[in-house]
């Protein structure tokens, strides 16, 4: 397996005057309460994970859970108090200022919740900004920016000012700007949270389309669990600075690790999230009917078909080989089962 693009080892971020000393004394056993009594606030508490190339990690948590702080540690907008962060094998915390700027100019792009566009520049200038900062000639950077404008579908508005655009359009500019330098790593900090629900859905779809095309390594921050489920390859759920669970959407829904995570999963329509392969039986029983379903189907799409069968249904992979089976009872259990226990 190739080296992970982002690798965090016991990252801590603690705000306050004596943060570093207290962290050392705590000896890897950080308790938010004791720290708070001593005037320190724990932002990120012992975060360790890896993100591999082309993967989208969504960090989900409510406000104050430390998700944005974690992202800022990894982009080194704030310095982590303790732990190690590697970006493509480079030790991020040991980079000097120049190396850091180089890294940001070539490898990283970031999208912000409040868009963070420069108010005095037009759409085009905003998108060209990182390129010009890099020292690329005005003409080339403008041409490249124009491509980006087309990529996010803002053609015809390139000479508008941010204030003349709607929220969704402004965020398209933000996205285009973060992509202008063709970064390998893409950070998105609650990019769609400030948008209306309909626009948000549209932007999510747009975002998935872009990612399919670009295949970036992504860290995506959100407080919206549905959004996380929709977009993520893996989800990290944070609470009070601690990563409660880091797993695939299916595993989080099916096997919540903590009570806190379980509460999120309660209301989730499982049939819309889970794939057949998440719930199928690995072994194939003899009592199989004629119907075959692909293991990559979302349950919702095939549930009706399966439920009309009396026999167990065969599950196939992309090569049409039978890899498992699923019976209607299992579907019913998946869709309605979880909730009975809770009430």
């Amino acid at each position: 397996m190739s080296e992970p693009v982002i690798k965090c080892q016991s990252v801590y971020k603690i705000f306050g005057a004596n943060a570093e000393r207290m962290l050392k004394e705590a000896n890897g056993n950080v308790d938010a309460k004791t720290f708070q009594e001593n005037g320190c606030i724990v932002g990120v508490n012992n975060a360790s994970f890896e993100v591999s190339k082309g993967e989208m990690l969504v960090v989900m948590g409510l406000s104050g859970s430390g998700k944005s702080t974690l992202l800022r540690c990894i982009s080194r907008l704030t310095d982590a108090t303790g732990g190690k962060i590697f970006i493509e094998g480079q030790d991020l915390l040991n980079l000097n200022n120049k190396e850091l700027i180089d890294l940001r100019r070539n490898k990283m792009g970031m999208v912000f919740q409040s868009f963070a566009l420069l108010p005095h520049k037009t759409v085009l200038e905003n998108i060209a900004f990182p390129l010009q900062i890099k020292g690329i000639k005005t003409e080339d950077s403008i041409n490249k920016a124009m491509d980006m404008v087309k990529l996010v579908g803002l053609d015809g508005r390139e000479n508008y000012f941010p204030r003349e655009l709607s929220g969704g359009q402004q965020q398209r500019v933000g996205i285009a700007r973060s992509l202008a330098v063709e970064p390998d790593i893409w950070f998105l900090d609650e990019p769609f949270s400030a948008l209306d629900p309909l626009i948000r859905k549209e932007m999510q779809d747009e975002f998935l389309r872009l990612q399919e095309k670009l295949q970036k390594t992504i860290m995506f921050i959100t407080h919206d669990f549905d959004e996380a489920l929709k977009l993520a390859d893996r989800i990290a759920i944070m609470k009070d600075g601690i990563i409660e669970q880091l797993d695939t959407p299916a595993n989080i829904v099916l096997k919540p690790a903590t009570e806190y995570v379980r509460k999120f999963t309660e209301e989730v329509p499982r049939e819309k999230v889970l794939l057949i392969q998440d719930v199928m039986d690995e072994k194939t029983s003899s009592d199989i009917g004629d119907l075959k379903v692909s293991k990559d189907e979302i349950i919702e799409n095939v549930a009706e078909k399966i439920l009309t069968q009396e026999k167990t249904v065969a599950v196939t992979d992309s090569n049409n080989n039978v890899v498992g089976s699923i019976n209607p009872a299992k579907i019913i259990n998946t869709v309605f089962g979880g909730r009975k226990n809770n009430n």
Binding site: I101, S114, F115, A116, L117, L118, P119, R177
Partner: protein, 717 residues
């Protein structure tokens, strides 16, 4: 009792007032006390007491300490003065190479530094001045007098006015479009044909040096304060005092340090203009959203790029207000610094006022105002300018302005050449209309003034007498009747009730400084004049503001009027009032009222506008009448903002009262004016300035604390 429980604050305030008046009545006026006329205080008198502190003897008339505190700080001005002289003349003598005499000379360090600074300033001013008007100092600076004697052709000829006028119009067009260009052309032409060209260009050259330097220093220090907490902490108290310090008062120490002339004026202007620039830069940078900064960082900005391409442009709204302030202060100072020998329109204005030639003063004042507005609008337009990337322009289109300017230069020179042939009487009107040889409307205005005086003399005199005898003098007597202790109790009590112990201590310190200085009586007079001005200004400003707010057009119109009036240098306001009321306190007060009404009106309108639209609708839906809405919803919510307007009104009023000394008042300003012509006046001038600044700061502290509390209470911003 119910009422007391319901309004504890009200009771506390009443109690404070009762104590204050009780003290006033309990403490009698000492028999020996009289309001001492200006000169008397410097005369030795056997009745005076004396004390010696730090080797300085301070003489004063002793009173009961409840009535007037002894001037325990009386040594301060003398001490400041002596220190200044010591610094200039005796401290750190060093050997310096003298270019002219080709030998080493011993000179004190500070003197050498200030002389070099002034030489540099003089060079900058002369450079611009000679481009505009012609001369040879600049050439000499690079060569020598001998060289210029040998090569007399090398003198800079100066630009014909036609070129400057057309050039400024082209620049204005490039920056701000047609309207601005027409304005530029008209005002420049006006200046020329009314024979004000030379002094105007002198003033302009002064401002073209002072304004950019102030801007650069202000921006630089603002950025430094933004980056370092320590710099900010060091700067803050100075900034605070400078904001309420009358510009007048800075003249005197600068006179000692930098001598007389334009260069000293530039330095003083910078001292006055830099603080607001710093404050506004800091304010603007602080308001940049953190995510924008992060976006800049993630785009790979280094520190310099982050500051110059992200932070400063994003904060440009506030920085622009700073530029506007700088320009305002520069023009204000262009007039005031005529007191210390700066040439130009200000000098003419002062001269004309001194001779009571109102018409001439009006013309000079108009010219200053025209240039002030022009520069203000041009700087605004410049900052808002956009670059168009997709203009596929050819060489001619891209450079049409420069080309056009080239044509104008040639045409101007040709015109000037033909002019020299056509006008044989010695004045080439197409090159420069000499001072006093243009059209002048002074005679007309003077006749107008005379006519007003002849026609309305009785009424004006009656009004004047009524105001002075029935309003001003009783009010002044009341203020002077306040025992020092009673005033202190009132002010400190108010501080405590508004802002708690902290505010009380600050206010107490400020008041004590004034009370212990030798000018408590004068400060009371200043306060009384300012109070009167502020009361009337607020009454007018709040009413006019509220009325204009009712209609969108009148609101915008009024804001524009305020904008323009604010650009006028403060001295200009003295002209029309002297026209009407001659040399009396009434003139000063009316100038104060007019000047101070501007911020009162503006903040009222802006305060009312800041009331959220949702509340408007909510009020309308609850079925309120227009008046109910105004009094129940809009006023209470806009009040904090309006109080900030009051704050500004007080500062403006204080400034004008001090400037009013020029007409003749008996307050602190009179002493500042006197210190100007006093060899040992530096310390006195500075201390007086600090006194005035502290009066402003007392109100500033009280009002700001109250506003902050109120805003928190209402949950606004």
């Amino acid at each position: 009792m119910e009422i007391l429980k319901k309004y504890p604050k009200l009771f506390q305030w009443l109690f404070l007032l009762v104590v204050f008046f009780a003290l006033c009545f309990a403490i009698d006026v000492p028999e020996t006390y009289k309001f001492i006329r200006g000169q008397a205080e410097f005369i030795k008198d056997p009745n005076q007491s004396a004390f010696v502190f730090l080797g300085k003897e301070v003489r004063y008339y002793a009173f009961d300490v409840f009535w007037r505190l002894p001037p325990l700080l009386g040594w301060l001005p003398i001490w400041i003065n002596d220190s200044l002289f010591f610094l200039m003349n005796d401290w750190m003598p060093m050997e310096f190479w003298n270019e002219d005499t080709q030998e080493y000379k011993t000179r004190p360090l500070v003197l050498q530094i200030t002389r070099n600074l002034t030489a540099f300033m003089t060079f900058l001013i002369e450079l611009i001045r000679e481009i505009l008007l012609g001369g040879l100092e600049t050439i000499v600076a690079f060569t020598s007098w001998d060289w210029i004697d040998a090569n007399p052709w090398a003198e800079l000829p100066g630009l014909p006015w036609t070129i400057v006028a057309a050039g400024s119009a082209i620049l204005a067009y490039k920056l701000g479009g047609k309207g601005l260009a027409i304005y530029a052309l008209l005002s420049m032409t006006y200046i020329s044909i009314f024979g004000q060209w030379k002094p105007s260009m002198q003033t302009l050259s002064f401002i073209l040096v002072a304004a950019p330097l102030s801007f650069i220093f202000g921006l630089g220090l603002g950025v430094a304060a933004f980056k370092s907490k320590r710099v900010e902490k060091a700067l803050y108290p100075i900034l605070l005092v400078m904001q309420t310090m009358p510009q007048y008062a800075v003249l005197v120490p600068a006179l000692v340090l930098f001598g007389v002339g334009d260069h000293a004026a530039v330095i003083i202007t910078m001292i006055v203009a830099v603080p607001p620039m710093i404050l506004l830069t800091l304010l603007g940078l602080r308001a940049v959203p953190p995510e924008v900064i992060e976006a800049g960082r993630m785009s790979g900005c280094n520190n310099w790029q982050l500051m110059s391409k992200v932070l400063i442009p994003t904060a440009r709204r506030d920085i622009l207000i700073g530029v506007n302030q700088v320009i305002m202060v520069c023009f204000s100072m262009a007039v005031i610094s005529a007191f210390i020998g700066a040439k130009g329109l200000g000098f003419n204005l002062l001269l004309a006022l001194n001779q009571l030639n109102i018409g001439l003063a009006l013309e000079a004042g108009l010219c200053i105002s025209l240039i002030a507005i022009l520069l203000d609008k041009m700087s605004l337009a410049w900052a808002n300018k956009q670059v168009d990337y997709f203009g596929n322009l050819n060489f001619f289109q891209r450079n049409k302005n420069s080309l056009f300017f080239g044509v104008v230069v040639i045409a101007g020179i040709l015109l000037a050449y033909f002019g020299s042939i056509y006008f044989k009487d010695g004045y080439n009107y197409l090159f420069e209309v000499p001072h006093n040889k243009g059209i002048s409307t002074a005679g007309f205005w003077n006749k107008g003034v005379d006519w007003i005086f002849d026609t309305f003399f009785v009424y004006i005199k009656a009004f004047n007498t009524w105001l002075i005898v029935d309003v001003l003098q009783p009010m002044r007597a009341l203020y002077l009747r306040m025992p020092a202790i009673a005033t202190l109790v009132l002010v400190v009590g108010a501080g405590y009730l508004i802002g708690g112990i902290r505010s009380a201590l600050v206010v107490c310190g400020l008041t004590l400084f004034i009370a212990l200085s030798p000018w408590w009586d004068r400060a009371l007079v200043t306060t009384y004049m300012a109070t009167f001005g502020v009361l009337v200004s607020c009454a007018i400003g709040f009413t006019v503001g509220t009325l204009c707010f009712q209609n969108k057009h009148s609101r915008n119109f009024m804001l524009n009027v305020c904008d323009i009036f604010q650009t006028f240098p403060s001295f200009v306001y003295l002209i029309p009032v002297m026209m009407l009321f001659g040399i009396t306190d009434t003139s000063v007060l009316i100038a104060v009222i007019v000047y101070a009404t501007i911020p009162a009106t503006r903040y009222t309108i802006e305060g009312l506008r800041s009331v959220p639209a949702g509340l408007h609708d909510a009020a309308t839906m609850s079925g309120v009448t227009k008046f109910q809405r105004l009094f129940k919803i809009e006023f209470p919510l806009a009040f904090p903002h309006m109080m900030l307007g009051l704050n500004q009104t007080i500062v403006f009023a204080l400034f004008m009262v001090i400037i009013g000394a020029f007409i003749g008042t008996e307050d602190l300003g009179q002493y500042i004016l006197k210190a100007l012509s006093d060899k040992n006046g530096a310390g006195i001038g500075l201390t007086l300035g600090i006194c005035v600044a502290f009066i402003g700061l007392i109100f500033d502290n009280l009002i700001r604390t109250w506003v902050d509390k109120r805003k928190k209470h209402l949950g606004i911003d």
